[in-house]
Amino acid sequence: MSSPPPAPVREPAWSLSRSAISLWVAQGVIAALVEAAVVAALIVFVPGDAGWWPTLVRWGGPALVLVTVVLDIGVQPRLRYRVHRWEVTDEAVYTLTGWLTRTWTLVPISRIQTVDVTRGVLQQVFGLATVAVLTASSQGTVRIPHLGADVARRVADDLARRAELVRDEAT
C-alpha cells in the first residue's frame, strides 16, 4: 500500500457521515459476539475426545473470533470510511463503495426511476439512512449507504424532483 496505483476513475467528492464508522464498528462487535457465542458453545458441548476436530475448534475458533475482532472492528470500518464516497452532480449520482473490491457506480439523473430511503434498526440508532436510486436495469442500482438521516431525505427529495424534470422515457 506504499504507493497505491492511481484510481482508474475519478473519486466522488463527498464522504459519508462519520457515524458510519460507529455503525460498522457496532456491526463488527455484533458479528464478533455471535461468533464468540458459537465458538464457546462448541468448546463447552463438544467432548474433547471425539478425534482431531475438537482440537481444531478449540484453537481455530478463538483465532477466528480474534481475526473478526481485528478486521471487522479495527481495520474495516476505518478503511471503508476512507474508501466510501458519494457525489450528486448536475447530471448524475456517483458513488464509490467497498473496501477490498471497490465499485464505482454512476447513474445519470435522467435515467432514475425510483428513489428509496431506507433506515435499518442499527442505522436508526446512529441516525443514518441509505438512499437507493433505482433504474430500469436490475444491475444499475446505486446505493448511498449511511448518510445522515436529514441529508438522505434532502438528497432523495432533490433527486426525485430533478429526475421528474429530466426523465428520459427512452428506457
Binding site: 497505491p4 496505483p5 492511481p6 484510481a7 482508474p8 476513475v9 475519478r10 452532480t89 447530471e91 448524475a92 456517483y94 477490498l100 473490491t101 471497490r102 465499485t103 464505482w104 457506480t105 454512476l106 447513474v107 445519470p108 435522467s110 435515467r111 426511476q113 425510483t114 433505482l134 433504474t135 430500469a136 436495469s137 436490475s138 444491475q139 444499475g140 446505486v142 427512452a170 428506457t171
Partner: protein, 497 residues
Amino acid sequence: MIDPVEVPGRRTSAWVLLLHTITFRQARALVPAALAFGATRGLDGGALTVVALVVGVTLLSLLGAAVTWWRFSYADTETAMVVTRGLLSRSVRTVPLDRVRGVEVEAPALHRLFGLVRVRIDAAAGSTGGTEEELLVDGVPQAEGDRLRARLLARRARVVAGDVAAAGTEGAVAPPAEEPEEEIARFDRRWLLYAPLVGSYLAVPLAAIGALFRLLDEVPDRFVPDLDRPDLPDGTVAAGAVAIAVVLLALGSIVGSAVVNWGFRLVRRGGSLIAVRGLVTRRHTELEIDRIRGCTVSQGVGMRLVGAARASALVTGLGDAARRGQLLPLGPHAEAWSLAGRLVEHPGPLIAHPPAARRRSVVRATALGLLVLVAGAVLTALHGWWPVLVAGAVLTALGVPLGLARYAALGHAAGPRSFAVRSGWLVREHTVLQGRAVVGWQVRQSVVQRRAGLVTVLACVGAGTGGYAARDIAADEAAAFARTASGSWAATLTPYG
C-alpha cells in the same frame, strides 16, 4: 382510466375445455399426489383400479378446466388490457397499453387442431428488470388472436407515438397487417446441419434417450425381449454402439432443431419485427423496433468451428431475451451479423484487452488446479498417496488453455453511437448495444485487479440480462470507454488532471 369491473369481458373458446382436459393442464398439480397415492396403495388392484384412477383424474381435470374457463375473461379497452380470473380470490389485472412490450401468438399442435391460439402479452413492470409481467390468454380462435395482437400493438403504437400526426391519420383500428412487409431473414434448411454442434439442440435427443431408458426401467421384465448378444469382440460392439449413438444424437438434434425452427421468418412490418417459427407449435413473436437497444450474437464451441451463430435482440422491458428476442435461432455467422448490423450500428473492430488480463485469466483458470496440486504434494509427502498430485497437475495443465481461451474471447469497442463487449468461453457472447441504452455504469476493481492495472466496466442496461461487462480492461481506459460509449454524462468518471 376505465373501471375494469365495467368492461364487458370476452371469453376464451369453449374448445379449450377439451384441450385442457386432454393435456391435464389443471390436473397436473395432482400428479405428485396421485403418484404418492399409487405408491402407498399400490396398483395391484389390477386394471379396475387403473381405469378408475384414469377416469377420476380426467373428471377432475375437466372440472378444473371448466372452472378456470368459466372464471376467466379478458377485455381490451381503449387504454388497457384487463384479465380477470380466479375462483375464490378474483384477480383483475390491468396492464396499460403503453406498458405492453411484445405480443406473442403461439399455436401448439393441439391448439391447431381446434384452430385456437395462445396469446402471451409481455408488459414491463417498472424498475426491477427481472420481474416483467406476462398476461396469458389461452385458447382463442386464430382470427381473434390476430385481432388482439393487431389491436394491442396498434393502440400501443398510438399511445406511445402520442401527438405524432401520422399515427392519428392511421385510425384506431388500422390493422398493421395492411402495412408493407419486408422480409429480413428466412430459415434456410441447410442451416439445420449446424444443429448437431449446438449444445441446446443436442440436449433434445439426450433428454429423449433418458426418458426412453426410464421408461424401459418401468416396463416389467417379462415384456423386455431377451436379446441375444451377438458374438462379436467387445471392442467392435462398443465402437458400433458409440457410432450409432453419435449418429442418433446428430439426427435427433437436427430433428429437434427442425421442429423448433421450421419455417422461421423474420419480417419487418411497420415499426415491428415479427418472428414466426415452429413446426408443431407455431410461434409468432412481435417486437417493437423502437425498443430494441442492442443485439447479442452468441456462438458455442461447436458453432465456432463451423461458423454458425445465433442472434437475439435486447429489448427494453422485455426479459428472457434468449427466447423472445430471438432474431436468428441458428444460421451462418455472417447472416447473424448482417441482422445485428441492421438494428444496431457496429462500433468498429474489437480492441483486445491488455496482457495483464491474459495473465489474470490464466492465473484464475489454474488456481483450482494449483490448489489441488499443493494438496497433492502434501499428501504425497506425508502418505505417499500420489493420485491427487497427478490430478492437480492435469487440472493445472488444462487451466492454461482454458485461461487463454477465456482471454481470447475478451474484447470491447466503443463507437459514436454504440459499443460492444465480448466474453465467454463455452458460449461466446458478443453484445452490441446502443449508447442510449446505458442507464448507468459500474466500475469494479478488486485488489488483484488494482495491482495489475485492470478494471471491470459494467454497462447497466434496462434490457436483456441488465448488465454487460467489459472484464479486465486497462484501468486508464475505463473512463474513456464509458464516455465514448454512452455520451457526455459519463465524463463524471474521468479522473482529474
